[in-house]
Amino acid sequence: MSEGLLFFVSIVAGLIGALSGMGGGVILIPVLTACGVDIKRAIPLSVISMIVISNSAASGYVRRHLPNLKVSAFLELFAILGSVAGASIAVVANRRPLFFLSGGILLSSCMILWKQRREMWKVTPDQDAFSHQLGFEGSYYDYGEKKTIAYRGHHAYLGGPLIFGAGVLSGLLGMGGSALTVLIQDMVMGLPPKVSLTTSNLIIGVMALAGASVYLEAGLIEPRLLVPVILGAPVGALIGSKLLVGFTNRFARLVFLSVLMLLGLEMILHGIRGIQ
């Protein structure tokens, strides 16, 4: 695959990754494999692209006070442990049924969110004591809706273990974990879509770092393919982060839904092809 083409694909991956809070794997993996790059070399690239996109997009988001640092501190712990556990069992696990399972979860979540697409996000009426103790509340100025939005997260006791599962999936399959991270914050913890997407952008950075260390040890990271990703993905991520800030919560969720559907179909396809 030519470095020039990979550079342009990385810009698109950075843009989609920053807008969806998922990293760039959803674009990079199918393009790389279609161009003849072995999936075992494509997945480490996708993992490192997650670090690139996380660093680039999150630097803009945190200055606008969009992600919640307390939520990320709590969820990162579970994400890292899950990612390490997933990467450790990846060698012995049969990944084919997992591609079907996670593809199915993503597509069914997509359908639930699609049904709720006309509903406005509402602040959680009652916050449980555990989430309150962890300080899962905050506010941000929404440039899309032109008002300050205050929110309260809940069900932290469910969110943590579920994020552990997302981390396991990310470590095992190299994809899908970041999408679940957004879904769990949105659907289980009741955070506004823009807060979920941007907090996920922070979490995927450390989640990917845990996985990247494993791939570095295995000698699967190729600088020739990585250089265009490092130079291209930040360009797309910066454009994406500027766009997302101006979106309304409803539109941000619609963008996420479109990428989620693409990712769900991609995972089912991986299962059908029997990619190990």
Partner: protein, 130 residues
Amino acid sequence: MKHVARLKWIASFDMENWVGVILQNGMLVSIGLVIVGVLSEWVTKTQSGLRDPLFGNNVLQFILEDFRQAVSPKPFSSLPIHLGIAILMLTPYVRLIASLFYFACVEKSWKQMFLTAFSLIPLTYLLLLG
């Protein structure tokens, strides 16, 4: 009086801005080094470092090997690319350490401090010892 000044300092401390600065600078340094490395490979017409996969038992070993190369009489031309990749990988780790100091020293939120510290333990093992 000292207590009031400290409270004012805490109120004005913008952690989000600091996290943004860490992430942005880490990314800029990393991209800068990668560009220098690509130009260096192009000038010397070697491209050898780009063909070989990165290797190291962990990020620390990978960085130490780069520094060993840097002080050797004939360092390879792709050394800046390797350093750029190492800095890219270390940036989220540095961000976590900054969060730990913030929760411990500024906000004095022990719950958040312990959560961040527990996140750092497996990451430190993987990056430095794994």
